[in-house]
């Protein structure tokens, strides 16, 4: 993806909506504008489109349509999963123990922290190895009778590491504990088969797989009780009130279908480009290290730390040189706090603030990677020469 002189290498943040997806969505803004809850034929047409989308998504998740809830984004799905499940478990089983990984997206970790702070839940963090991976054995060791839920991210947004979700799910199932995974980063890169993954809840967000922003889904396995967090009408089986955003939901289904259908070729192409990128960076830049797992990682994902470099300044310099990247937990306020995820890997705070995330996608070409590899060493060198010294 190029816009003017800019090369986009931040697909883990968001991606453009595929033209095929845009085309599918358009009629539902104008001609087919109905409210799926209405009695009349406008409503019926909208409901048909909504349920068709639900079925198509359920197909790729290997679940029933009734197990798919539409939400406004991946973060909302995480919130509904964690809070909805925790409160239901507290009420039905007095279960108040939350077990999550230290490499969760904030949508999970901040929600769990709030439950611990304000509602007497006990929050426990799982250990991770130096690649940010959770071991199923460590999960087994920490499960208790009062464990309300386990949540482990499928693939981490900052470091790209993929967790052994299926094995962790098996451990949880044996113990009868509900298991949620945030699969927001996985949508375009990994199989989302909920049976193989042994998950009870799974969060998705459409814009990570070339669908529109503002729509997500939560898989909730049949028989898993959650308490709705948004109340009102009886949409989404009474678990998420509010008129469904039909055009975006139609777009999400189309986007997921395309992404999963083309997944094998995409993964092959992206892995090759990504490997070329990682190899090039490590070979040409002294003091560079890959963060996250070298093999169990998203095919489009490269993340690094560079000793003696300020990650925020690096992003600005790259942006001005025409490359849109991220530091992993980038926020526009330039917060210099080291990332919690990188600290959880055991990185020193100084090194953790020197991070760079480069994520590729559907429109990344080899020339983009070559051009990036040509530019980065010089930028890093200039950054190191102008390191901030307080006088």
């Amino acid at each position: 993806m190029k816009s003017g002189n800019l090369i986009y290498l931040d697909y883990a943040a968001t991606a453009p909506v595929d033209a095929r997806v845009q085309a599918k969505m358009l009629p539902f803004f104008g001609l087919d504008f109905g409210n799926p809850s209405s009695v009349h034929q406008f409503g019926q047409a909208a409901e048909a489109a909504l349920e068709d989308a639900r079925e198509r998504i359920a197909g790729w998740l290997n679940c029933t349509p009734e197990e798919i809830l539409f939400t406004s984004c991946g973060s909302e799905s995480d919130n509904l999963a964690i809070r909805g499940l925790a409160f239901a478990q507290l009420r039905s089983a007095q279960a108040n123990h939350l077990l999550i990984s230290p490499v969760e997206h904030h949508a999970v970790s901040r929600t769990a922290e709030q439950l611990a702070r304000n509602y007497d839940f006990e929050l426990e963090y799982l250990p991770v190895d130096r690649f940010g991976r959770v071991s199923p054995d460590e999960v087994r060791r920490r499960l208790r009778p009062e464990t309300a839920l386990v949540s482990v991210i499928f693939a981490n947004n900052e470091i790209g590491t993929i967790n052994p979700i299926s094995e962790i799910g098996e451990v949880c199932r044996e113990a009868g504990v509900y298991f949620h995974t945030d699969a927001v980063q996985a949508g375009a890169h990994l199989s989302l088969d909920t049976r193989e993954l042994n998950v009870d809840l799974m969060s998705l967000g459409a814009h990570k797989f070339y669908g529109p922003k503002g729509v997500g889904a939560l898989f909730v396995r049949k028989g898993t009780a959650i308490i709705p967090q948004q109340t009102g009408g009886s949409q989404e089986y009474g678990l998420r009130a509010g008129t469904q955003n039909v055009p975006l939901i139609v777009g999400m289904a189309e986007a997921l279908e395309i992404a999963q259908h083309e997944r094998a070729q995409a993964v092959e192409k992206l892995t090759e480009l990504r490997n070329q990128l990682v190899k090039g960076v490590l070979a040409t830049i002294p003091g560079a290290a890959l963060t996250g797992h070298p093999e169990f990682r998203l095919s489009n994902h490269a993340s690094f730390v560079f000793s003696g470099v300020d990650g925020n300044a690096l992003l600005m310099a790259l942006d001005l040189a025409g490359f849109a990247c991220s530091s992993g937990s980038a926020c526009k306020t330039g917060n210099p706090e080291p990332s919690e995820v990188l600290l959880a890997l055991g990185l020193e705070p100084d090194l953790a603030t020197s991070s760079l995330r480069v994520t590729l996608g559907r429109w990344t070409e080899q020339e983009h990677i070559l051009s990036f590899l040509q530019t980065l060493p010089e930028i890093i060198h200039r950054q190191r020469q102008n390191a901030v010294v307080i006088q």
Binding site: N5, L6, L320, T333, N386, I390
Partner: protein, 360 residues
Amino acid sequence: MNYSASKPRVVVAMSGGVDSSVAAALLVDQGYDVVGMMLRLWSEPGKQAANRCCTPESMALARKVAARLGIPFYAIDVKKPFYDVVVTQFIQGYASGITPNPCLYCNRSIRFGVLLQQALSIGASYLATGHYARVVQGENGKFKLLRGKDPLKDQAYVLSALNQNQLAQAMFPVGEYQKTKIRELATQYDLPVANRMDSQDLCFLAGEDYRDFLIRNAPEIFREGEIVNLQGESLGKHQGLVNYTIGQRKGLGVSSSQPLYVLEKDIQTNRLVVGERSSLGRSSFAVAQVNWIRGEAPTGPITASIKIRYQAREVAGTIHPFADHQARIELDTVLRDITPGQVAVFYQDEEVLGGGIICN
């Protein structure tokens, strides 16, 4: 994005205010490759929304200006260095009995320190700010700091701690104009800047009195002590020297037939020395940590126009430079509020020669 710019890259320190916004617009017009940056400074926990310089509103405003000008914009978080350098020196200054001027430290170490370094690291050649001041290169290659053209807005005072290296990389685009012209330009450029009141308050005081800030952040420096007259006779108690400034009359809490003024704050004995108006005032004082902008001290005494604080009127005097960045200043006039810790700045006509911190 201005890739066609043929001139060098300039980072503009933006605040969302009219001066820095017009500074950015002028540089864009002049063909520079302009990049906007805004500093996020330290605020007391819970008071971020009242910090003058970097509220979320001013950040949003600066972003809007940058979008209007079509320039990239980045926020630079300098909370830690700002606290370590500026706030710490502010607190330590009051603890040692002086009245510091944190804006000078901020300009020297944060704006033309951390931010300049950031600017260089992204390939910029200059850092521009919205100060009313000018910088010119003399025939000898040395850079001179000049007053802003608008005498009512001149802000060269707060830049008097900059050195040659910093000035060589500094640009002050609004310094060439009158403030009224800058407001006109803001309208012409259609910049979405708020009509904020100019303020001299310190940003991190969030509109409060400095004493309220100190009592929360350094309560230990409020030590009760004696109020004495010049003869050493006790007149009453004070609640901490930090509550008083030299020349202060009101709020002393001692009764006397004559109005009494704060003459001296004796940090060694924690005594507040007060006396009659006739005892107040000096025409001679020492300055330390003198910064001579040209990079070296004059070889002998020089006459100059001297300001003993930002808002003071200038008075004529003679500066006797000594070694180790010290000097003695003899004013032609007696001034009543020469305050240790404040910065005395020396001018000759349009040029700022430098400045130093007033000693006890």
